[in-house]
Each structure stands twice: as C-alpha cells, then as structure tokens.
C-alpha cells in the first residue's frame, strides 16, 4: 500500500439522492447475499425439503393402501413433501436470528445505523428480505420436492393430482411457515442482540415450546393446554399447510374436545401476529438503545 502521496478525495461519482426505503432495501439485499451464512442456510433448506420429500416418497409404502380415496392420496402426498418442514424451520430460525445478531456481534450495526439513523427502515428492510427470500427458496424447494416425489409415489399406488388447488395451497402454506419462522427468529434476535442467545430463543420457540406443550398435554389432558399449543408458531404453521380429510389431519396430533383448532386463515393471522408483536418490540427497543 503506497498511498503516502497527496490523497485525492475528489468526488465525481459521489452523487446519490439520500436515504430512501428503496435504497435501504437494495443495501440490505447486498448485505444478505454477500454473506456465506445466507448461502449455507438456504442450501441446507433446499437439501432438507427436497431430500425429505424424496426420501418420504421412496419409503411411502407404509402409507399406501389400496383403498385410499383420491383425497386421502393427496393428503398423503402433502404429508410426505412437508416431512422436512420442521427441520427447514430450524435452519430458517438460525438464519433469521443470524441476519441481525451477526450485525450486533461484529459491530456492523453501527455502520448500518450511521447510514440509516432513523433505524426503522433498515430493520423493516431486513425482515422483509429475510422473510421473502426464505419464502421463495422454500417454495421452490417444496415444488421441486413435489415434482421429485410425484413419480415415486405413483409407483406405490399414490396418484398425485397436480391440478388440485388445495395441494398447492398446502405447498404455499408450508413455504410461508418456514418464512414466518425466519421472521419470528429475526424479531427475537433483534431483541436479544446476542448471536447465541438469539438462536437459542428462536429454537426455543420453534422446537422446544411445542414439545413442552405436548408433554404438558400428555400429563394433564386439558383443552386449554392444547389451545395454547395450537397457537405456537410451528403448530399454527402446520394448520397452514395441513391437508385434512373429513377433518382428520395426518400431520397433527388429534385435538382434544373443546380445544381450538385453527383454520388456515386463522393460522396465518396467528403467525402474522407473532411477527408483528416480536418485530414491534424489537423496533421500539432498537430506536431507543445505544449501539
């Protein structure tokens, strides 16, 4: 490096109109795609979703029965292609938390907030991008999984009807669940700010919370416990992509009498609610905190 000469600080190109949401979104997009952790997390999500679908379809003889109705066959197909969903959610939780805690951990957040001192647009851009990219990656993976699984399933007597709107609703719902998980984890990460803490909290919500409720429900079979369980993000997500036949789900454990069972649209609202509440808290804190 030999720059001990008189520096030239000229600025022929330093135009630029100022901070706008579009600019911030572009900046955050550059940031998201320039980290290896992003590529790794997405690669793992693809492998999990496609791999589990293929594996499930190849081993699906357990499901097949000659007397399955066409509707039941569709339900089996949905169950199989969403096999990987809980694991994809786990990776999405890590990604969502990392996107924000990585900035706090490295000090990058100071550069981010110095460039966007109002802070809100930077955080909104991040959560929008982490949610939308996770959704797109998951949707493409699930669609690929469906295409891989379809011929394997048909070899075992399960004929998947790809023209079925409900089937695609489940595919989109499953992709949305993974994306919501990433956004919930982002909110937790932005509140906690510490990488290990953020990831632990996100995994707690995605994995541990439902386990606690299902154990509690096993010990004391109370409808209200089941109802709480129904409102946890992974369970609400399950309702979003479930393909029940005559009210019976293949994916979810049976609800107790008197417990709330969410309709897909209600499940969507519950997941939106998780994101809005956590992100709202994160935003309020980020506006006040020193960095």
């Amino acid at each position: 490096m030999s720059t001990a000469t008189t520096p030239r600080t000229t600025h022929a190109h330093a135009t630029g109109s100022g901070v706008s949401f579009g600019h911030v979104l572009r900046s955050e997009w550059i940031k998201l795609r320039s980290l290896r952790s992003t590529a790794w997390c997405f690669a793992v999500i693809v492998v999990i979703l496609v791999g589990f679908a293929a594996l499930g379809a190849a081993l699906s003889s357990a499901f097949s029965s000659t007397d399955a109705t066409p509707e039941q066959q569709q339900s089996i197909a949905v169950t199989i292609i969403t096999f990987g969903s809980p694991f994809a959610q786990l990776v999405a939780a890590v990604l969502g938390a990392l996107v924000i805690t990585g900035e706090y951990g490295t000090g990058m957040i100071r550069s981010t907030f110095a460039a966007v001192p109002r802070r809100t647009s930077a955080l909104v851009a991040k959560v929008v991008l982490v949610g939308s990219t996770t959704f797109v990656v998951s949707l493409l993976s699930l669609a690929a999984g469906l295409l891989v699984a379809t011929p394997l399933l048909s070899g075992q007597g399960i004929d998947v009807d790809l023209s079925d709107g409900r089937l695609w609703q489940s595919v989109v719902g499953a992709a949305a669940t993974v994306a919501f998980t990433a956004m919930i984890a982002f909110g937790l990460g932005a509140i906690i700010r510490n990488g290990a803490g953020g990831i632990a909290a996100a995994i707690g919500v995605v994995f541990v919370l439902p386990i606690i409720f299902s154990i509690a429900q096993g010990l004391v079979a109370k409808a209200w416990i089941y109802t709480l369980y129904e409102f946890t993000p992974p369970q609400a997500g399950t309702r979003l992509y479930d393909y029940p036949v005559d009210g019976a789900s293949m994916i979810s454990m049976p609800a107790l009498d008197g417990a709330v069972v969410l309709e897909p649209w209600q499940a969507l609202l519950v997941l939106v609610g998780w994101v809005v509440v956590l992100f709202g808290i994160a935003l309020a804190l980020a506006k006040r905190r020193d960095v």
């Binding site: 135009t15 955050e28 000090g107 907030f113």
Partner: protein, 317 residues
C-alpha cells in the same frame, strides 16, 4: 461544523460525559484528545446518533445528524472498533453502505483506490489487519463525499507509512474546507496533525484551544538549578507556596511555578552561588500528562507515576 451543547451521558450512577460543550469548525483539523475512557468515543457516537445523550444535544451542519436526508453526505465517520461484518468482503461492505444513499459503484471504486485497498477489496474483512480495517473504515467514511469527517483513533494499528497517510489525508480534507475531527490518546500524534485541540478527561472538557496554546498552558514554568547551596536555596524557595521542587537523580533541583529570572534574583539577593539555571521546556507528552493526570480513569496499578506527575502544576482548569 459540529456543535455540542451540554452533552451528558450517565450509565447508572457512573457519569461518562459531564456537560460537554464544544464547536468543531470547518477548514481546520480539530483533535479530540484524552486518555482511554475519557469519553471520546461516546461523544463521537453521539454526534452520529448511535448513542443518546442523557441530556444535552449535538448538531452537525446545523441539524441533528438523524434529521439529515443524506447523512453520509453530511458526515463520514470511522468508528473506534471495526464496525464491519467480518464475513463480508470490503467491496461488498462499501457497496452496501453506498446503496443506502443511492451512491454508485464508481464512487465505491474511487474510495477503494483512494485508501489503497484494491488488492484486498474482494477479501473478507475478517482476515484484515487492524491497519487494513482502518483503511476500510476511512473508505466508508469518504463514500458520501461528506462535509464533515469524524475519525475515532484513525492511526491505531497503522504502520508508520499509514500514519503519515492519515495525517496527510486529514490535512488535505481540512484544506478543502471540510470539518475534520480526529480523536487520539496520543498527544504527539495530535500535535503533528491538528490545528486545534479539544482535550477531554473523565468526561469533561479540560482544554479547547489551538494546539500551541494548549501546550503552553499545560507546560507552565520550569527551571533546573544546580548550586553548592541547594539546601539553602530550597529553604528560600519554600516560602513561595506555588513552587514545587523535585530533586533529580544527579543532584539538580527542578522547579515548577517559578521563572529562571525569579530564581536568579532570589539567589543573588541572598548571595547564593548558582552553577546552572536552565529554563525547562517540557515535552508534549509531559504537557499532556499534566493536563490529564487527574482525569486518567485507569492508572496502571502499582507502577510509579511518570516524571511529569511528580510536579503538581495548576495548569489544569
């Protein structure tokens, strides 16, 4: 132009900044000097809205930083610690920063060239030396061609060539009419770079004046005396309460708070023979130590205080 008004920051009961007011003017290099922990970084973070003052306010070019439509075009800031994601390449970091303001790739290439980072621009920042990290921080600070630049400890970790480069850059930026505000805990560095000094100690402004004035203020008067009748001379001078005397290793007497003329006259009046009477010029470092000695937060435990603190001049405040 940076204007700080009564900035105060408390962390619980601990006061990090106590009613700090100053103005940093364009066209000159203003040094922000103080021992570690004096509150320099906190003040700089407040200027760009990263930390909130408990009370008081600070404006840049007439407005709070956050109210500028294009803050990076107003202020370029190099923060103390590396404020860069270690997993991202230098070029991507700069592109992302530039994108927030719609600044194009051409300017990113310009600042990379300006800071001599061409060969490492595609490398991940995690592998950078401290010096390269500083260069990247300076590159980011210059992206928006800002009217004001704030560099927190810019020469930290730089090799001598890099130090000269930062010094030249700072002077050049000031000569273009920009406001240049640099912090350092090294007096010698500031003396070579800055025109004006704001000295901070334990969260208070100790001095705010041109460099030469600060040095003169902190130096005080000093005289070295040798005499076969030192004891008698000491006795004589002890009557003057403002005089502080220290005996040197080789038997001379160093006096503070009195001029050579006064010592000579007093000695002559009593008929005391003098073998040496030398006005002492203190080094910059000594002057700085004098200025900040009561405000150093973390003294090295157990080690004797350096020379300058053996005398207690009243130059502070």
């Amino acid at each position: 132009m940076i204007e700080a008004r009564s900035l105060t920051k408390r962390y619980g009961s601990k006061v990090a900044l106590d009613d700090v007011s100053f103005t940093v003017r364009p066209g000159v290099v203003t040094g922000f000097l103080g021992p570690n922990g004096a509150g320099k970084s906190t003040t700089m973070r407040m200027i760009v809205g990263l930390d909130r003052p408990t009370s008081g306010s600070v404006t840049v070019n007439g407005r709070p930083y956050a109210e500028h439509r294009a803050p990076l075009r107003e202020v370029g800031v190099l923060l103390d610690a590396k404020a860069v994601h270690s997993g991202r390449s230098a070029a991507d970091h700069l592109l992302a920063m530039a994108a927030t303001h719609g600044i194009g790739k051409a300017r990113v290439r310009e600042v990379i060239a300006l800071t001599g980072l061409e060969s490492v621009a595609k490398k991940r920042v995690g592998g950078f030396s401290l010096g390269m990290g500083q260069r990247l921080g300076i590159a980011a600070a210059l992206l928006g061609d800002p009217a004001t630049v704030i560099f927190d400890e810019p020469v930290n970790g730089l090799d001598p060539e890099g130090v000269v480069w930062v010094r030249t850059l700072a002077r050049h930026l000031a000569s273009e009419g920009r406001t240049v505000f640099l912090s350092s805990h090294l007096m010698s560095e500031m003396a070579q770079t800055a025109d004006h000094l704001i000295v901070l100690g334990r969260g208070r402004v100790l001095a705010d004046a041109p460099v030469s004035t600060v040095i003169a203020q902190a130096s005080g008067d000093g005289v070295r005396v040798r005499s076969p009748h030192l004891a008698q001379l000491s006795e004589l001078l002890r009557a003057r309460t403002e005089v502080v005397a220290t005996t040197t290793d080789d038997g001379a007497l160093d006096l503070r708070g009195v001029t050579a003329a006064q010592v000579g006259e007093a000695a002559a009046a009593q008929g005391i023979v003098l073998h040496e009477l030398t006005p002492l010029v203190r080094s910059l470092e000594e002057a700085y130590m004098t200025l900040t000695q009561d405000s150093v937060e973390y003294h090295a435990g157990g080690t004797p205080a350096p020379d300058a603190s053996a005398t207690t001049s009243g130059a502070k405040r």
